[in-house]
């Protein structure tokens, strides 16, 4: 019987679909490549254009700053949400409800136009023109950060709640104050749960920043738009921008992969995860 040849089941349906896919993708590629309406030489020409590179810098700056601000604000909101005081936790719920419930695009435009109903800020004798403070950059950063903070709050709340309640009881029984228990016992263990989704949010944020182009905040997409407004090479510059977005998200994804592999996912890896997280925090701290 052991001599018997075994022929695996052939799934003809899968083969048909595969061939169909190759045909469709090939057709689309051919259509793009053979198009006489695309100036291919413009792509390498603009790929490393100074304006474009400046835009990339700003896109990265928006991503890093808004993530840092939203992590801090989200942490505060998460703790407020878990507060026993109904008004404190109610405020956090309201914040999360509002900022998750309205489109980010609307929030960006709103912040950019805030001088329409708050023309100036007067603190005592000090007078500010709202317009001079809320530049496109500030409006964009504010909108991205405040919006992201709502999502971050939910991620952190989930992380804090994932830590076994026995850990807090043990800390209490030993005489840790609530603050000591949060900083030394609860938060470090919550990090293991919090870090992977923060990675996802960061990657997503790299692309989300393109929305700030509506207020001309000089990110990558704004710059590409500015260039094609003059030379009408719309598709070419969108391809340039897309290439750069793909590069950034690919690099971020591989970073995330490395971090998550170090973090591990099982409880048995908890201490290793903690050390990896610490390393990460130190590295982040020295960059920022």
């Amino acid at each position: 019987m052991s001599e018997q040849r075994i022929i695996p089941a052939r799934n003809w349906g899968q083969w048909v679909i595969a061939i169909l896919l190759i045909a469709i993708v090939g057709f689309l590629l051919a259509m793009v490549i053979m198009s006489r309406h695309i100036t291919w030489s413009a792509i390498p020409q603009y790929l490393f254009d100074e304006t474009i590179l400046e835009g990339i810098k700003l896109t990265i700056l928006f991503t890093v700053l808004s993530m840092l601000i939203s992590i801090v604000a989200g942490g505060v909101l998460a703790m407020m949400r878990l507060s026993p005081n109904a008004i404190v936790s109610g405020f956090a719920s309201l914040y999360i409800w509002f900022f998750r419930g309205t489109p980010l695009l609307v929030q960006i435009i709103f912040w950019f136009n805030i001088q329409l109903f708050i023309p100036s800020i007067d603190i005592g004798s000090i007078h500010f023109d709202t317009n001079s403070i809320i530049t496109a950059f500030v409006a964009a950063l504010l909108a991205l950060s405040l919006n992201e903070a709502a999502y971050m709050a939910e991620i952190m709340r989930g992380g804090l709640m994932a830590v076994d309640s026995g850990q807090q009881e043990a800390a209490k029984a030993l005489g840790y104050t609530p603050t000591q228990s949060m900083l030394r016992i609860i938060f470090p263990q919550a990090l293991r749960v919090i870090i992977p989704p923060i990675g996802n949010q960061t990657i997503s944020m790299l692309k989300t920043t393109s929305l700030v182009s509506v207020v001309a905040a000089q990110d990558l997409l704004t710059r590409a738009q500015n260039i094609y407004a003059k030379n009408f090479l719309i598709i070419e510059l969108l391809i340039v921008a897309s290439i750069w977005y793909l590069v950034m998200t690919t690099v971020a994804s591989s970073l995330q992969y490395v971090i998550e592999r170090r973090l591990g996912r099982s409880t048995s890896d908890a201490p290793m995860a903690w050390r990896a997280a610490l390393r990460l925090l130190r590295a982040e701290g020295s960059n920022g």
């Binding site: 076994d164 026995g166 850990q167 009881e169 043990a170 800390a171 209490k172 029984a173 030993l174 005489g175 840790y176 104050t177 609530p178 000591q180 030394r184 016992i185 470090p188 263990q189 409880t267 048995s268 908890a270 201490p271 995860a273 903690w274």
Partner: protein, 262 residues
Amino acid sequence: MTQQPEFTTSGAMVEALDVRKSFGAHEVLKGINLTIRKGEVVCLLGPSGSGKSTFLRCINHLERMSGGRILVDGHLIGYNERHGLLYEMSGKELARQRQDIGMVFQRFNLFAHHDVLTNISQAPMLIRGQSREQAFSRARELLKLVDLEGREDAYPYQLSGGQQQRVAIARALAMNPKLMLFDEPTSALDPELVGEVLAVMRKLAADGMTMLVVTHELAFAREVADRVIFMDQGVVVEEGPARQVIDAPQHERTKTFLRRMH
């Protein structure tokens, strides 16, 4: 057989007066009165749901009482009394009181992200302000006491339940508590691991530690405890010298419970 607790005597470590606790409409503790003297080892026995663990958790205010009061070493636990009213303490004040009361949990609750040495030495450094050298050398001493020399670098997940519980005992002892509370310390252990934890507790008792132990280990209670308190349905049914209560119970409910345990 029940003796009236003597209040404000200098020899008392724990004094409980009419301690009550309700969860919603369900009354778990219906007025507990008891005294534990300094250096005494008391075992709290009773069927599950009798309120033993809840009472134990009231002693360091992990559980908020519904009525009555508890004094540890003469200090009212969990509240400040002003103008005849009880004001619940802040988190910081509670933390200060709990420093002197060690607690061992059924499910160990070792800090999962810390190795054994950090588990034992963090609180003495952070809370008592001990130096690293001081805290580490004391931790090593305690590891020797609980028979886990050389396991400083292990993480909780690398240890058996019995080993984790012995580290948990060492962690509590590192704060030099004047009272140790044990909440069913062997109930979550495989039978073959129970002995090693009881052996450590026996050592502690012999060293004169004041201990209140909620347990189902009758043999341990009979051998180690000075006194046994039997609770059922939120009241103290019977208390007295260990051998007397276990070998010759007076009360019908105690007799029924002990018959089922043997």
